[in-house]
Symmetry: C2
Subunit: 149 residues, 2 copies
């Protein structure tokens, strides 16, 4: 029965300035049962800043398959889940695409919570790209990540 | 003297849900001298909702050139300006690119305030587009706009 399923929220988070978070993102992060985070330590800094005590679970490229199964199980039991990346809009150059596809396939509602994106911020401040642009992904990661999504 | 120039903030605004606005966007809209808006009536709804009383001035495709001159003049006098579109991230499929280019040329600091983008929200919830995508602009406008930037 679809009505008893939880919702998967795909939540955009700040890309460098903790003030760059929407009112709805803060509310959703507070209300869900669990937050699936690319790096739980990094996400914890955001949560602590806003006194949000929702539990987190890691979801990164090395455990995405097993975590997807775990999280789908919780969504099936009616719990809601927020998916966040280190920074910016998840799934765009970030882990989480597999969870989103699996949720769609299982009939789980997937709701994007729009917010900061390094790609769009760069385009908007450049004065170019008004009617279209091509995003080919970020440069390969070295030790640290060059630019968050 | 660059230190005496104002700053042009390129501010992303909600794309359908008034809760989709960042804390920094609300602060900047409150603090600037004037808000250049694609549609001042639409922007007024957002401002009223958050009790922001900053004056607005229209900046749309039919007056972009003259308004750019006016706004550059105010920036040169040290006033700060926020540029917003009807919805989403300005300059991406929206008026304002000319103002941003002119500000860059005049040595005015241009600061993007990242936030909601219909393009990124759609990509993130689709489960596709993980490593790159092509944005070719929105479909042509008919009577109403199909999808905000």
């Amino acid at each position: 029965m679809p009505g008893s399923l939880g919702t998967l929220f795909v939540v955009a988070t700040p890309i460098g300035n903790l003030e760059d978070v929407t009112l709805r993102a803060l509310r959703i992060l507070r209300e869900v049962a669990v937050i699936a985070a690319e790096d739980t330590r990094r996400t914890s800094r955001l949560l602590q800043h806003y006194s949000i005590s929702t539990p987190t679970i890691s979801l990164h490229e090395h455990n995405e398959r097993s975590r997807t199964a775990t999280l789908l199980d919780r969504l099936a039991r009616g719990e809601s889940v927020a998916l966040v990346s280190d920074a910016g809009t998840p799934v765009v150059s970030d882990p989480g695409a597999e969870l989103v596809r699996a949720a769609h396939a299982a009939g789980v509602r997937v709701e994007p919570i729009p917010g900061p994106s390094a790609v769009m911020a760069a385009v908007s401040a450049s004065g170019f790209g008004g009617e279209g642009f091509v995003f080919l992904g970020f440069p390969p990661r070295a030790r640290s990540r060059a630019a968050p999504g």
